[in-house]
């Protein structure tokens, strides 16, 4: 049913891609200032809807349906120049929307000038004014650098400022803050909410996480395979009366539990890693050195934002960088006195699982990646190697994949599991896990968490988890050390830290991932 008076009225919108519907009979009415959050996994249809409304649908897609914008009929797919409202697009900075060789400022200014139909000078001024309204110290001068030299959060603020400068009627946000770190996500969503309140634009936000529905409020539309599963506000959808898929989706999305108690792993044994007075910051006083111990089979999380010092500590612990002071004993061997050759032998007992998949060589095959540690370190027959390989791939759910497929052609989900399989065959004593759930959909995150937990339960390596997200720390570790501005500020069992955080920075990290209305403890389901 077509409705006049609404900002946007979509009826029976269908997008066919290669004959397959990526969006199926989707209808939406959006009034001025209203928001709609499209919650679903990749391929659920959110991206297709944004591309149709934004006027950048693929030419090969077949689009049918009806669209009315402020009462007047608009031909689909919508061409930006022909819609009577101003539409702004807000992408994720990690999707690399900018040309790598030109400054971000130049590109944002051009975008604003083009959308406003104004000269570059006035576009620059609009951007400057928009940036001034935001907290933090992002200035036009700071943005006058190539994208590769800026951190993603700064670029995200620049993108948000450019949207604000366009004074849009409708904003299309495409996973705009995903994988930027919990504190940054919270800050950016609050800024977006503030701008929406100030400018009164309508918002359609495609997301796969819980933060946007919680922080932005409004209508949540759960989507799956191009269809609407159900619609409502976040709290109602969290209740036990929601559709089965919705309940499963919400259960899969990571949330902090303030009451969950985890029994310590029974595999905890002798000390594996002993750190005495380790100082990893050249400017720090030696007495500020860190002392801690990690036992076999235990799991410790190093929690903190980017630049908080957790990776510097890790590099010092594993002797990649020479520490100004302190001593590290790994598996009863002092790492600092080792030669390169001996250190290399010790490092065979360490494995890495990273959220950027950069540890994988894209040229290698799936089988080659898993077999390499065996072939490099052990003198095994081909049959034995194949046996270990198959067992590891089975455990992570990759056994059915074509073994000669190149790593470069795998999805992020497959690559993450492949890293775990490679770690499994190496039988490491210590696994360093760095933001393992980055870039994964909800169900994929659940599976990777389970695979890692199973790995630790069956083979018993110790885990050293690096993350900015307390939900990840809680899922994979029992104890935590919290870092802020290069210093260790708090430590202890995660349960106790969550119950009674002492430091403000720790509280901020907890609040960044706490969703009081949506916490596990509050939900009845």
């Amino acid at each position: 049913m077509m409705e006049s008076g609404a900002l946007l009225a979509l009826s029976e919108l269908t997008v066919l891609r290669g004959g397959v519907p990526v969006l199926d009979r989707f209808s939406l009415r959006l009034d001025a200032g209203e928001s709609a959050i499209l919650l679903g996994e990749s391929g659920s249809g959110g991206e297709a809807l944004l591309s149709v409304l934004g006027g950048f649908a693929d030419k090969a897609d077949t689009v049918t349906g009806a669209l009315r914008v402020r009462g007047s009929e608009t031909r689909l797919p919508a061409r930006r120049a022909k819609t009577p409202i101003r539409i702004a697009y807000l992408p994720n900075p990690l999707s690399q929307p900018f040309a790598p060789h030109a400054s971000v400022l130049a590109q944002l200014t051009r975008v604003i000038a083009r959308k406003q139909g104004s000269p570059l000078g006035s576009a620059h001024e609009e951007l400057r004014l928009a940036l001034e309204r935001f907290p933090g110290s992002v200035t036009p001068q700071l943005l006058d650098a190539k994208p590769g030299r800026l951190d993603p959060v700064t670029i995200a603020i620049g993108l948000l400022a450019s949207v604000s400068a366009q004074t849009p009627d409708l904003v299309l946000a495409d996973h705009a803050v995903a994988d930027l770190g919990p504190s940054a996500i919270r800050m950016l969503l609050e800024m977006l909410a503030a701008e929406r309140k100030r400018l009164g634009f309508a918002l359609i936000y495609a997301t796969g996480g819980l933060q946007p529905p919680a922080r932005l409020g409004g209508r949540v539309i759960v989507m799956r395979a191009g269809r609407v599963v159900e619609e409502g506000d976040a709290l109602r959808l969290m209740s036990g009366h929601a559709h089965a898929y919705t309940r499963t989706l919400f259960k899969a999305l990571p949330r902090l539990s303030l009451t969950e108690t985890r029994s310590r792993s029974s595999a905890r044994g002798q000390p594996l890693l002993q750190v005495h007075g380790l100082s990893y910051d050249p400017k720090a006083h030696p007495r500020d050195g860190i002392t801690f111990e990690l036992r076999r089979g235990a799991a410790l999380a190093l929690v903190g934002e980017e630049g908080s010092g957790r990776r510097a500590l890790l590099r010092a612990v594993l002797a990649f960088d020479r520490a100004p002071a302190g001593r590290v004993v790994f598996d009863a061997v002092d790492l600092n006195i080792l030669s390169q050759t001996m250190a290399s032998r010790i490092r065979r007992r360490v494995a890495f699982v990273t959220g950027t998949d950069e540890s994988l060589d894209p040229r290698m095959t799936l089988w080659g990646t898993v077999e390499e540690p065996l072939r490099a370190h052990l003198n095994l027959s081909g049959e034995l190697v194949a046996g270990y390989r198959e067992a590891a791939l089975k455990r992570v759910g990759l056994a059915s994949h074509e073994g000669k497929r190149l790593v470069g052609g795998l999805t992020a989900f497959d690559k993450r599991r492949l890293q775990v399989a490679r770690a499994i065959v190496g039988a490491p004593l210590l696994v360093v896990i760095d933001e393992p759930l980055r870039g994964l959909d909800a169900f994929a995150q659940t599976i990777v968490r389970e695979v890692l937990t199973d790995f630790r339960a069956t083979q018993g390596p110790a885990f050293l988890v690096i993350t900015a997200d307390f939900t990840v720390a809680q899922a994979l570790a029992e104890d935590a050390m919290v870092f802020h501005e290069g210093k260790l500020i708090e430590r202890g069992p995660i349960v106790e830290i969550l119950k009674e955080p002492r430091e403000e920075a720790t509280k901020a990290l907890i609040q960044a991932v706490s969703l009081p209305d949506l916490s596990q403890d509050a939900a009845p389901g």
Binding site: F56, R80, A88, P97, H101, A102, L105, A106, T109
Partner: protein, 290 residues
């Protein structure tokens, strides 16, 4: 930018010094009594010291100072290379840009392969044949042309080697352009910027074209090498008495001192072109204020 300039300058100086070392070693081959490793080494060091003082020695063929011989032939070759480079840019650049940043890129890829498969001497001889039979021009393929030619004829005779060198340069320009276009078109930024609101034309003009041109300019060293290689062959084919022709004769007659200096000159030309190209590329590629 300053640190970049400094790095490139160091690279240039080190490269030129390396070329001087190699030239000294080649020159020492012709030194009397330089038999055995130690005498050869001292002869090479001696030559290097002489070069540093500006004493390039004498030609073993003519007995004249090398500087004097080069003064008569280097300008001619440099002029031919320069004219060829201009022709390569004037002819190659517009066509190359259209063929690389437009939709015709895929279709022209095999065509470029066919053109670049032709050796310079074959292209030179083909040009001469066409000039004689179609344009009825005089050519200097089989003997140097005497002094009794009209100015028009002299121009026609001089044009062919330049065109041959220019064609070789145009082929190098094409390849450099295609490589730069290939590198510039990687990444998701095109669709990203389109989604943000820029038009395809604006993206190509503002963000892709400068990169492509910067990539081309950065390949100045390779283009110079192609031009110098073409000059060697072209001077021989068309009986031009330039420094490239001098090099071939010096090697044939074992005048290693002369050959060494010519190699040094060619290496320096390549280094200087590479140096200038990298700096120009850096300036083109960095877009600051809108």
């Amino acid at each position: 930018m300053r640190s970049f300039l400094a790095r490139q300058a160091v690279r240039l100086v080190v490269g030129v010094f390396g070329a001087a070392l190699i030239a000294a070693a080649i020159s020492a081959i012709g030194a009397p009594h330089a038999h055995g490793l130690a005498p050869f080494f001292f002869a090479a060091v001696g030559r290097l010291v002489h070069f540093a003082r500006g004493d390039l020695g004498q030609s073993a063929i003519s007995g004249l100072p090398v500087l004097q011989v080069l003064a008569g032939s280097v300008p001619q070759t440099l002029l031919m290379v320069l004219e060829g480079a201009c022709l390569a840019l004037v002819a190659g650049l517009p066509l190359g840009l259209l063929a690389t940043v437009g939709p015709t890129r895929r279709a022209t890829a095999p065509l470029v392969q066919i053109v670049t498969a032709t050796p310079v001497f074959c292209a030179g001889l083909a040009l001469a044949y066409g000039a004689v039979h179609l344009l009825h021009w005089p050519v200097s393929v089989n003997m140097p042309v005497g002094a009794s030619v009209s100015p028009d004829q002299a121009l026609q005779i001089a044009a062919l080697p330049v065109v041959a060198v220019g064609l070789a340069g145009a082929a190098a320009v094409q390849l450099a352009l295609r490589r730069a276009a290939s590198e510039a078109s990687g990444g998701a930024f095109r669709s990203g910027l389109k989604r943000l609101g820029l038009s395809a034309f604006e993206i190509e003009r503002r963000f892709v074209l400068p990169q492509v041109l910067a990539g081309l300019v950065a390949s100045a060293g390779e283009i110079m090498m192609a031009l110098l290689s073409a000059a060697v062959v072209t001077e021989w084919v068309f009986h031009q008495s330039g420094v490239a022709d001098l090099f071939v004769k010096s090697v044939a007659l074992a005048d290693w001192n002369m050959a060494a200096i010519v190699v040094f000159i060619f290496a320096c030309l390549t280094f200087v072109a590479e140096f200038a190209g990298r700096i120009a590329s850096r300036m083109l590629a960095s877009e600051g204020r809108p």
